[in-house]
């Protein structure tokens, strides 16, 4: 094939400029900054790995932020994907008005990260809010969900579950790829619906589940907008909503500790990379791509 180097690089030029200026250079220099004390006013002052040492040894808020974020990921993602899969399976059995239901279930995902939804959630779980009003009907006096550090995280988890629509759409697309004759053949052989699910649907859907899992986990680690609004911008009450990205924002843009914030960013990068690597590595054992069979 004839090479079209000149033309190709002209087309690539904007991306290449952006890639070097806004991605590569920043990645490298954020690592350098993470080894310095820097407040954007005076020059960076090199301190070696002190930030990392402080972070892991002395900074209890860093550990708090990790705890909050991991808990959110560990509870929120499985529930969200569970709901998404369950509803997708329901809808896939052929329902009239599929596109309407699909649209309704997807809507919260679409509005998901907007500040308006954060405001709504704040009022829904307010002490005098919607949820407690409903509970009062049942004679239960609900807690102040958002000002109690034991319950605040669950309101945010519920918010992410509410947005199961986008993984649901991806599941639906995946389910549609499964050839129909597999089900027909197996039901002639007398396989139950339950068996069909375990032996046909689940293995063939595994790549899609895997894809959703990676995507949702990475997304969950990066959660910011909603928690910023719900927690009033500082992770309160008592740091129970101190998500990792919120802590990073505080260090960088409220305390102007740019060096420390860069170190936090690098740790986040490493965490996300590890998770992605684990998924990709273990997927060999539990994901069956059709062609391999």
């Amino acid at each position: 094939m004839k090479k079209e180097n000149f033309a190709a690089y002209i087309f690539l030029l904007p991306w290449l400029v952006g890639f070097f200026l806004l991605t590569i250079q920043p990645i490298v220099s954020s690592f350098y900054l993470s080894l310095t004390e820097y407040d954007t006013v005076s020059d960076p002052y090199f301190i070696g790995f002190e930030h990392y040492e402080y972070m892991f040894v002395d900074d209890y808020r860093f550990w708090e932020a990790l705890k909050v974020t991991f808990f959110y990921v560990a509870v929120g993602v499985p529930f969200k994907l569970g709901f998404a899969l369950a509803i997708a399976l329901w809808l896939n059995q052929g329902v009239q008005g599929l596109s309407l239901y699909r649209a309704v279930f997807y809507l919260p995902s679409l509005l998901g990260s907007s500040v308006a939804v954060g405001i709504l959630w704040r009022q829904v779980f307010h002490t005098d809010g919607l949820v407690n009003y409903l509970l009062a009907f049942l004679g239960i006096s609900g807690p102040s969900w958002l000002s109690d550090p034991d319950t605040s995280i669950y309101t945010v988890i519920l918010l992410t579950i509410w947005q199961f629509g986008s993984p649901m759409l991806i599941f639906l697309a995946g389910l549609r790829q499964i050839p129909h004759d597999l089900y027909e053949a197996s039901s002639i052989d007398g396989a139950s619906k339950f068996r069909q699910f375990w032996k046909i649907t689940l293995p063939l859907l595994a790549p899609v589940i895997f894809f959703n899992l990676v995507l949702q986990t990475i997304d969950a680690f990066k959660t910011f907008n909603n928690v910023f609004i719900i927690s009033g911008g500082n992770g309160s009450p008592v740091d129970s909503l101190l998500f990792y990205t919120l802590y990073l924002y505080q260090q960088g843009f409220e305390f102007f500790r740019m060096g420390y914030a860069s170190a936090l960013a690098w740790v986040l990068l490493i965490i996300i990379s590890i998770f992605t690597a684990i998924y990709f590595y273990t997927s060999k054992y539990w994901v069956y791509y059709e062609s391999e069979k």
């Binding site: 690539l12 200026l21 954020s30 900054l33 279930f105 709504l120 990205t245 960013a265």
Partner: protein, 275 residues
């Protein structure tokens, strides 16, 4: 059998209602007087008022028409930038042969997974040194440099499935690759551009982090930043007004969703956009 079907619909309708209830409650509360918002669960207000809208519109030092104007400026330029720059990049990756193609493509795909936070602080420092903090440039210029790898990926997928024979026969007729791009690829790719444009609009319209970091003066605020001001004043009884303004901010999103539903749902199914 028939009963079964009815049961299914009943279940799905109930689930839909639960999903939508908070949103509908916010909509109806925006028409309720402050005093009854938390004492009235019904979706139909027992007392109607339109006051929340004009009051909310002017609740801050600057009225919302400025914030909407700002948001639209940022969104429109972001959409244009994303479309042009990502289409250029995607065309090279999808249709042209050049040295180091696989290498660059792999790097581009890696940026899909990269958490924005790693580049955030050096980018901020760069824009600060350029004197761009408190302007819209940091929000718009990266879009003209194709920094949303997602749209590149989406367009590469689309361009690849256009028949190669089109390019080849045009090439025989002496068309340059530039002409092929503008005369053949671009006109055939409106569905891909449509999907990219809608999502690019959504992401900038709802973007909160970028404006939070880069915009300082209230005159420059976008709508999400202005909404946040209601939250800071939580002790005042502004619920009705904050609901009214929240609802208004969702209306463009909602209208686009109704009109372009098929694009959106297809786009997600095809490429796994987060939405």
């Amino acid at each position: 059998m028939k009963q079964n079907r009815l049961l299914k619909h009943l279940f799905l309708a109930l689930a839909s209602l639960i999903m939508l209830y908070p949103l509908l409650w916010m909509l109806s509360s925006s028409f309720k007087p402050e005093s009854i918002i938390f004492n009235d669960l019904s979706l139909w207000p027992s007392q109607f008022t339109f006051e929340n809208y004009p009051n909310g519109w002017q609740a801050l030092r600057i009225d919302f028409s400025i914030f909407y104007k700002n948001s639209f400026i940022v969104a429109v330029f972001s959409v244009i930038g994303n479309l042009i720059a990502c289409a250029f990049t995607a065309y090279a990756f999808a249709r042209l042969e050049f040295n180091f193609k696989r290498f660059w493509f792999a790097l581009m795909m890696m940026t899909l997974m990269l958490p924005y936070h790693v580049v955030l602080i050096p980018q901020y420092i760069l824009f600060l040194k350029l004197g761009w903090v408190n302007t819209y440039y940091p929000l718009i210029v990266p879009k003209f440099l194709a920094q949303e790898a997602f749209f590149i990926f989406l367009m590469v997928q689309f361009f690849k499935q256009l028949p190669r024979e089109l390019d080849e026969s045009a090439m025989m007729d002496g068309c340059s690759v530039f002409r092929i791009f503008f005369k053949i690829i671009v006109p055939l790719s409106t569905p891909a551009f449509g999907t990219a444009a809608i999502f690019s609009f959504y992401w900038t319209w709802e973007d909160f982090f970028g404006p939070l970091i880069y915009l300082n003066d209230i005159e420059k605020y976008t709508v999400p930043l202005a909404l946040r001001a209601f939250v800071s004043a939580e002790d005042l009884s502004f619920y009705g007004e904050s609901f009214a303004m929240s609802i208004l901010s969702l209306i463009p999103v909602f209208i686009f969703f109704i009109i372009f539903q098929r694009f959106i749902i297809h786009g997600i199914a095809m490429s796994g956009i987060k939405g």
